[in-house]
Structures are given as C-alpha cells and as structure tokens.
Amino acid sequence: MNALEIAADVRAGELSAVAAVDDALEAIARRNEELNVFVHVDREGARARAAEIDERVARGEDPGPLAGVPVGLKDNLCQTGVPTTCGSRILAGWRPPYSATAVERLLGAGAIPVGKTNMDEFAMGSSTETSAYGPTRNPVAPDRVPGGSSGGSAAAVAAAMVPVALGSDTGGSIRQPAALCGLVGIKPTYGLVSRYGLVAFASSLDQIGPLARTVAEAATCLEVIAGHDPRDSTSLPEPAPDLRGHLDDGVAGRRVGLIRELVEGADPEVVAATRAAADALSAAGARVIELSIPELRLGLSAYYLIAPAEASSNLARYDGVRYGLRVDADDVTAMNVATRTAGFGAEVKRRIMLGTYALSAGYYDAYYGQALKVRTVMIEAFARAYEQVDTLLGATAPTEAFALGAKVADPMAMYLSDVFTIPTNLSGHAAISVPFGRGATGLPLGVQLLGPARSETRLVSAAAVLEAGREEA
C-alpha cells in the first residue's frame, strides 16, 4: 500500500495505524529470513507507537503527513534505545541514547519506524554484501544483490515490507540500490537533511534521503526530514522546500543535458534506457542537448581518497573503550588493535588503511590534497554545465542488479558500480534516481536526474514526468 494512501486513511480514521504496522510486520515475517532485509525489527516499539497514533486520531488530532506509515531505517540512523550496528560487529549491541534529527522528524510526522535495515558495513559497499550480518537479496531477483550500501532499505520497499525507507548516500548508496530494485531514491543537496544522528562514513559526502516506489512518496518523505537543524553545523539555513506542490510542474521549456560521461561504459540496455528517458523529457516539452563534462571521469579516483580519508578518522572512535565490541588484551593499545581487528570487516579495514595512507605525512599532498583539488575542479565543471542547462540526465548505475558474490573478490569492479553517482556527492548537489527501462535479463534500471544545490523541486517534477513516461511506455 502506498504511503500517501495509508496516511490519508489513517488521518481520516478509515485505517488504523496498528493495522498498517501489523501488515508491515507480517510482510517482514514472510520474507525476511529469505531476503535478510531487516537486521532488527522493533515489533513492540512500532505497535506501541501505532496505538498512540490511533489514539491521537480518535481524539481528533492530526498526527501528520506520514500518519501511521511504517518506515524502514537504514541501520546507521540512530533511534533512541533501538540497536544500531551499521552492519558491523564492532557496534554489536549498541543502543543509542538519542535519535537522529531525520528520525525525530519522521516520528513528528506520524511515521512509525518498524526496524533497522541491513547495509554494507559502515556504508562501504555497493551490494550490501559487506554487512557483518550477511548479504541482503534483491526481492525482484533473489539471486541478485539489491545494490548498496542502502540495500536493506531498498529491499524493504521492493519487497513491500514498508512503503518508504530512509537510506544514506555517500557515493550513490541511495540511488544505486533504488535503481537496482526498481525504486525512486533521492540524494538531497548536502545540508538539506541534517546528519545529526547519522553514523558518519565520510562526513563531507554523507546525506540522508528517502527510497520509495513513487516520486510522490519519496518527495513527501524528503519534505518531512529536510530543513535546517541547529545540531548540524553544515545544515543549510533554509526550511524544507515545498516538493509536493511541484510534482505536476512538468518540464516544458526546461533545458536538460544528457551527459556523455554518465552513460559511457554502461551496458547497452542502460544507455538505451537513458536515451529513452531523454526522449520522454523531450516529448514532455524539455529541450534536451547532449553535453560532455570530462572532469566527471576524475570523480571515482578523488572519491576513493576523500571518502576513505574521512572514514579513517570517523571510525577511529571504535576503539573498545566506551561502547560496542571490546576484545580484552594486556594493555590499551593491544586492546584497541584486537577490538578493531575482530570488529571490522575486510572492506572497512581496506578503506581505513587507504584513508590513513592518503592523509599521512609525505603523502597528503599527492593524494588527499590532490583529491580536494579535483573536487574543486569538478564543482567548477558542474557550475559551467548549469549555465547551459537546468538539469542533467544520466544513468544511475552501469548495469542491472548483478549476481550475489559476483564482485566480492574484485573491489575495483565493485567501486565502478558507483561511477555515475559519485560526482554528485563530491559536488554536494542534488540527484534523484527514477526507474526507467529494463536490463538484459529484464531487471529494472534507473536513470538519474541531477541538479545544482537546492534544485529538488525541479528534480521531483522532472522525475514525475519520467515516472509517467515509464508507465505509458
């Protein structure tokens, strides 16, 4: 059931929130063992909250735009008292004493978190296979990965366990799994959604965003969680944008750039789908031109220095001293080493080492410093493109969902899954992935619409056009 329908019915008193939550819990119970979507289900907490919503409706109150809507939370989002592991052994058993701002805002809008979804460990991965709690399967094709790192959140929506879920996107971790699971996923402008309570991977790149089946549901969810938060110094000063009011704006007169670098190297079906999306936008009145932004090719390399560098610092705190896993040893240093050796998986260790190296004396200028320069060059290149067009169009991922295990042994191949999504994180701009077309084996594909900072309003109206175009196609 659609989130907007649930909320409308709950607010009207025609559907009980308890029933909506029970439906979600049943759906989870049916397929969670097979798909490994939720790592923690907060059955009691969700039911209690649903009962509260129903009482408020009975008292004549309006619980908000997401009243009674069951939502999934990626397991790197803190919710008071609910286990938060980031898909890692090192945080096993940790229950945060506070909630993320985005989670508080969901709760304030009447939404009901039903549990925490699986993810690549500390969001480092593109397939949800690096989780310490096992891989998540793609509900559309269970022998395939759901993408990652927000693969659990994508699978939760794709398996109709919940209508919407929150993910986080550091290099494509919302958009790529959305594409691979046939969903809409939004990577908001950096600072639009507070990061307070999002366990950091790479602080200058991380953004929380929604995954949903439709543009309207994703836009509604984003509106709820967006807007200034004094607890995040990088939070944008403005209140949340009006997105629902612009879903039907269309794209007539809009200038769209089809970016060569955001399709090159992709599967032929992906290229075809992206071209078909361009045609759909043209048909709706947009003026589509082809553009090249060669600087985008530098994105992957810069990203794999900047993100690990920040991660190496962000993940230092998992030292066994205060919370999470501790492996005892003879002295403090040995305890730190033993804890981190046992607590982190291979991919996390690889990135910590990469990042530590990139920041080290004698290497900083050649690696991290150089990557920062590339980042600036890329931001400037985007700015030039946005002088010519309003919106950019490209593929979300180079392939359809790949088989479980296919890229586990080849980190470079895995990293390339994010080649089209990474530039937006480096620039801090907004992007949305919309299902469009089918891959060689009939699995869903996604295309990506990119815009400058705070262009979400335009992006959702363009995405709504593609959504309609897909239905007609």
């Binding site: 803190c78 938060t84 945060p96 309570g197 950091a200 610092s313 230092a316 080290s360």
Partner: protein, 471 residues
Amino acid sequence: MRDGWEMVIGLEVHTELLTASKLFCGCANAFGAEPNTQVCPVCLGLPGSLPVLNERAVELAVAIGLALHCTVAPSTFHRKNYFYPDMPKDFQISQYDLPINAGGYLDLSDGTRVTIERAHLEEDTGKSTHLGGTGRLHDAERSLVDYNRAGVPLVEIVSGPDIRSPEQARRYAAELRAVLVATGASDGRMEEGSMRVDANVSVRRPGEPLGTRCEIKNLNSLRSLQRAVAYEADRQVALLEDGGRVRQETRHWDDGLGQTSTMRVKEEAEDYRYFREPDLTELVPSEAMVARVRAALGPMPAERRAALTALLGDAEATGDVLDTVIQGGLDAFVRAAIEEGIDAGLALARAANELGDAQGAGRLDVPAFVEVLARESAGRLSATQAKTVLGDLARAGGTADDAIAARGFVPMSSEALGAVVATVIGEHPGEWSRYVAGEDKLAQFFIGHVMKATHGQANGQAVVAELETRR
C-alpha cells in the same frame, strides 16, 4: 647556566575558557563534578553526534587574541588524529594552518618582548587516572577515564623561541596568566589544570643556530616551570659538553625528584594526519563581534603597571613586588592606599606579601585594605597585627573595624607600654648602658624584646619614644 651557553625557550600554554558550556555541546563546563556526569552524545563522541561551535568560546578566544596584540582572522578547524582512551573520538578538534589569532606579542616587565605565534581554539580531552604501576598509562593495571573535561574549550597560546632563562620563563607565564585573568577568559589556576604550560627548551653557543629541542610536560606550577627549564638546560649542556647530542623528545617533569625523563622520542611521535574538520564550517569572526569584545576589554597588566609606576615615581617601582601586585590584580588596592596618603612602600609591601601569589585579595575589599593600612601608619596597629587582620579579611571579608575588634587588637596605652619597656631595660642592663652611651642600633634589640613580651601588639615607633625618654 654554564658560561658560553645560551638557553632558547618557547612556551605552549593551554588555558581552559570560562564558558558556561563546552566548546561543541551544551554540557556544563565546570571543575570538580562527579566523574562522567557532565557528558552527552556530542562530547562522548557517540556515533552520529556532531559538534556545534560555542559562540561564547569564540568571543573569549578573540579577547585573548586582542589582549596579546594578535591579528584576529577567519580560521578553520582541523582534526588531529591519534588514539588515546581519554579522547572520545580518537581525534581532537583543533586549529591548524589557519588559527583564529596569530602574530602577537607579550611585553614582560623586564623589557623583553616575547612574540606570540598563535593563540588557537581547541577542545580539551577527558582525564585519565591510572591505577597501579607508576601512575602513568604504560604500566598501569587499570585506567579510569572521566569525560567531564572532554570538550571543554581551550585556547593554546604558542610563544616564539624568545625566552632566555628559567626566571624569564616563569615571568612570561606569570604575566600571561595575569593577561588571561584580566580578559575574563580564564581563572589561570595552574593547580586545577585550567592553565597548563609545556616548555620547549634547547641550548646553543651564542650566535649559533638553534639546538635540538625537548618538550617538557607536567609543569603544574610556575615554580615547577622554572625548576624544570633550569634542570633541562643543564642536562642538555652537560650532554653536549660530554660530546653527546640532544635527542628530540618529549620529557616528563617529576617535581619530587626534580628532574625530567623521557616520555616519548621523536621517532615514535605520532603522525597526526591533520585535515579539515568536515563537520564544522569556516569560523569568520564578524567585525562587529571583534569590536564589541575589544570595547569590553579592561586595562591589561602592562597598562596597569605603567599607571601604577607613574603614581609611585621611580623609587618604589621595583620589579618583583610590582609584578606581584599587578599580576595579582592588586593595583587598585595600592592606588587607593596611596591616594589616602599611605606610604607607597608600605602599600606595595602589604599588597604583595600578604595578598600576593598565595591567596590573593579573596574577600578583602579596597576600603578595608586602606583602613587597615591607615591604622598601621598611625601606630594604632602593629605591623604583625596589620598582617593578621589583612589575612582575616581576605578569608572572611567584612569591615576593618569588625576584623580588628574580633582579634581584640586595641592599641596599648603608653602606661602599659612604658611598664613593659622598663621591665625589658631592667633585664638587660649591659645593653642598656651601651645604648645610653650612644650605641643607637641597640634600639632594634629592645624593640624585639618588647614585641616578644607584648606578642607583637606594641608599636615600634612608640617603643623607640619610650626608650628615648629613659635614655
């Protein structure tokens, strides 16, 4: 210091700021609470927490910068990465290439100008207590950590290598402490650790390039600073004269043993992997804020020293007593006393010796100070009584009248004093004969005995007068 050598000293001073809350969260910044009661997700570095800069801390940092004649500039925060159990995030948020204050100076009363390279903002760590072994981390059986101090705002003030003696190092630290207290940014309490000093010490033959330096830590008082620098310079000279070389290292001062020992050598030193703190934006102090802070700054010690020196004239303006008065914030007491016609030397001595380093003015107010000194000058209180009363007033406050009455200090009648003097003369006939014969300096001998007999209640001048009438 042995002949033919020169010391080169630079000091790094950390001061906690007197803010109500911590640097990046709303937890109380207060000393002495139960361990781990002033903590929250942010200062504990819990996953997902984010720092938000305390504006009051910025204002106090700017006040320090302005007081030290620094340029206040747009700055950034960096992460200093290293593992230590009392650092919740295993990195410290500090400032690196762009500090909020840079390029200032501090003038000492001996005429030396010490450059201030920078005075930057950073967060404090928690506090570890190591049980067992020597009380240091490496051989402890257990360690306890109190995170109440984690995230307390600090300003680190880095001097240039302009200091040339242990005495001057102490003088610099004392003057800097007075400046910090005068700005209202710090309470300057070294014993509580709210002001901490690290010393970089090297030696060289005059005119030669800088020698290899050692950094000395654990200096908990001005006295420790002076002793440690002297010890360390001697150690380095002895090493070099024996044909050895100084190894760049961090050394720990042991106050009991009176010596420094190796903590860690340069080769083991951490690579801190500094990079811009992505969770904070650029810090750009507004011109309006800087102007407001500048306008609110009271006179700094140097200015107050000049004003008091002008009042005293050349004769009384001796270095150490004057420094003690200025650095202790006692110049208002001395000025008021002088303006009431009290001898400047007496006012300086009582302020410096009775209210100086040890306890300060405490609850003593200016009128009470002036009143006590006026009574002493008029012979109605003896010197000993005056000191006692000043001590009482510093502890308990109140008026001079009440404090004197509480002690029962009434001036001795001339009859009572005459009787005591007569008794003392009778007990020392030989000395009395010599005094009568013209040996004037024996007056001190008789004053001493009269003071002893009266438990310090007699007035010295009155005793001399009694002696003269009998001579």
